[in-house]
Symmetry: C2
Subunit: 341 residues, 2 copies
DNA sequence: CTGAAAGCGCTTACAG
DNA sequence: CTGAAAGCGCTTACAG
């Protein structure tokens, strides 16, 4: 389609001025006479001219475009983060491009290179907990990237990462969820999902254990199942747990890594005829759009994803080098009930 | 963070060659002696050099980056399209950036400009049906964009749009859904969601009406409610419809614009104590990840979003100027049943 | 196989 | 208020 692209030279010659002058009106500078500004704008409009942002980037060394790398967009959780970031970016005059996490996956060839080559004005990276060996490689990739553009992190960011960040305090969240359940009388509380992580004080397992300790409940390893964050994995995990235990030891409540895992657990409970919440309470995390539409509606944690994304953009633009903690709140619905005597 | 950026000149002087030679090894050209190639690569590696894609774009007039504009990412339907497009793009060596639909919304100031300025190698635009007046403005924006880069369309593309496209044949889809329901004995079939569109032969309403005609059923205007594509809107629409009708005229089946609307309808039915599927069959569209986890699991149409996204990328890259139709298939679950006598 | 030079389309001091 | 000129960091003929 694109015929010969028209350039600032075309506009300048048509308007009978220099390209410097065209550039000035393009950038809305004040020191241009009203008459020439008008003439230039008229030519721009007539020829439907759009300055090339890439030439602009070349000359001014700034592109007004940010990037965000997200693990997987198919979980709406990440779509919410993206939306929040993107809207804030637009407000500040930037565009936001999305890159898949695999861009950072150092198990592939030279992964961060593509990102580094793009000379973005800044990059947000949403990190999840990773197995430790992989983790160190990702950290290396992040440091590499940082030579080329400011980077701010989002999500489960270990304190050992010296990056500005908006981090989840997953520990306090889990601890609060356990408290919520123990106040409903639950004593056998399972926790499903996630990876077996290293020694981060903010990670979920710490909160889970603290919550149990607060209520003077034993930590029962059989109630802690690690799995990936999909519904299928959640269902399989609960299935495994229940199969491995005599029914009188079955948990009366399960905390799921996220709403997808919670959905899987609910489905598995349904298959087994275990009524929710009568015989099993379930709490999810992320408060996905579908949580209110499940049966029963799912109690979940709103992790303020859009706000988190927006805040990360602000840190990126302002250049503040600080780590903030994202807020969250428990959204009570019908999937949890007082434990039956 | 970014200190002085290192350039091709640094590498050239370090390696004792010209920048042309560095450029050659960078682009993997064959005509470089093994010795100099090795030396250059060694310097590149040591200095951790990454060529600027924007300088590259400037010089070569190609950026290897594509864009896609999507109405709203919060509906996972669009996340699936994006994922399909993005993965295909990566396979072909391109990156894919996401832009919000509002970039094209001509009710805002000079909307497509930002897109045009980016000189992408190509753009995919996912269009939905729009009220007619707005529609003509979008078409104008698309034509404008096309001066700057190839554009392919996805979604509900009216044939009057002379763009390469992967379009939904929504008419045949709706017609098939109506047939499916009439074969289950349904005669009072409602259709909820969407906008009152103009005269596109592929639009859903045409299929709905054809389906009714095939079964020699009357078109009952009270069964056709227009609304936006959210769960809330779906619930409100069904609520309005039922309120407006004596119960003996209530539909026995409802076709929803998409799964979100279907979820809203299911929730509204639940509030009214209308059992699904015993007293109301529901079919959705898009086959979202949560469809199998609703109660009952929702019958929906798989619209092959990832494939559609991937195919659009192929059309973009190959430059083929053709309109293709996206495939789809009905995924039967438990939300539809034979009508009760 | 290698290098010197022009050029991509802008912005940005610097003069005037 | 306006213009001439250099420069951003690459690629691409063109010579050799």
């Amino acid at each position: 389609m694109s015929s010969e692209n028209i350039t600032i030279y075309d506009i300048a010659s048509d308007a009978g001025v220099s390209i410097a002058t065209v550039s000035r009106v393009l950038r809305g500078e004040a020191n241009v006479s009203e008459a020439t500004r008008k003439k230039v704008l008229e030519v721009i409009d007539r020829r439907n001219y759009r300055p090339s942002s890439i030439a602009r980037g070349m000359a001014s060394k700034t592109t007004h475009s940010l990037g965000i790398v997200l693990p997987k967009l198919l979980n709406p959780h990440y779509a919410m983060i993206f939306t929040g970031a993107q809207e804030e970016a637009r407000k500040l005059g930037y565009t936001m491009s999305l890159f898949p996490w695999s861009s950072l996956d150092t198990r592939e060839y030279n992964p961060a290179a593509m990102l580094a080559e793009r000379r973005l004005d800044g990059l947000i990276v949403c990190v999840e907990y990773l197995p430790h060996d992989h983790d160190v490689q990702v950290l290396a990739a992040l440091r590499d990237l940082r030579q080329y553009m400011p980077v701010v992190l989002i999500g489960c960011v270990p304190p050992s990462y010296d990056f500005p960040a908006v981090t989840n305090n997953s520990a306090s969240m889990l601890q609060a969820i356990v408290r919520y359940l123990t106040e409903l009388g639950h004593e056998r509380i399972a926790f499903i999902g996630g990876v077996e992580e290293d020694n981060d004080p903010l990670r979920r397992d710490v909160g889970y254990e603290n919550g149990l300790r607060d209520a003077r409940l034993p930590y029962i390893a059989s109630y802690r199942i690690y799995c990936r964050g999909t519904a299928e994995d959640g269902a399989a995990a609960l299935n495994r747990m229940l199969d491995s235990l005599k029914p009188e030891y079955w948990p009366t409540a399960v905390i799921a890594l996220n709403d997808l895992v919670a959905m899987g657990c609910m489905a598995e409970a349904g298959r087994r005829g275990i009524a929710i919440p009568d015989r099993l309470s379930v709490v999810g995390c992320d408060n996905l759009f579908c949580a209110p539409y499940l049966t029963p509606p799912l109690t979940s944690v709103n992790t303020h994803q859009q706000q988190t994304g927006a805040r990360a953009v602000q840190l990126l633009i302002s250049g503040e080098d600080k780590q903030e903690t994202a807020g969250w709140d428990l959204v009570e619905r019908a999937s949890c009930a007082r434990v039956r005597p």
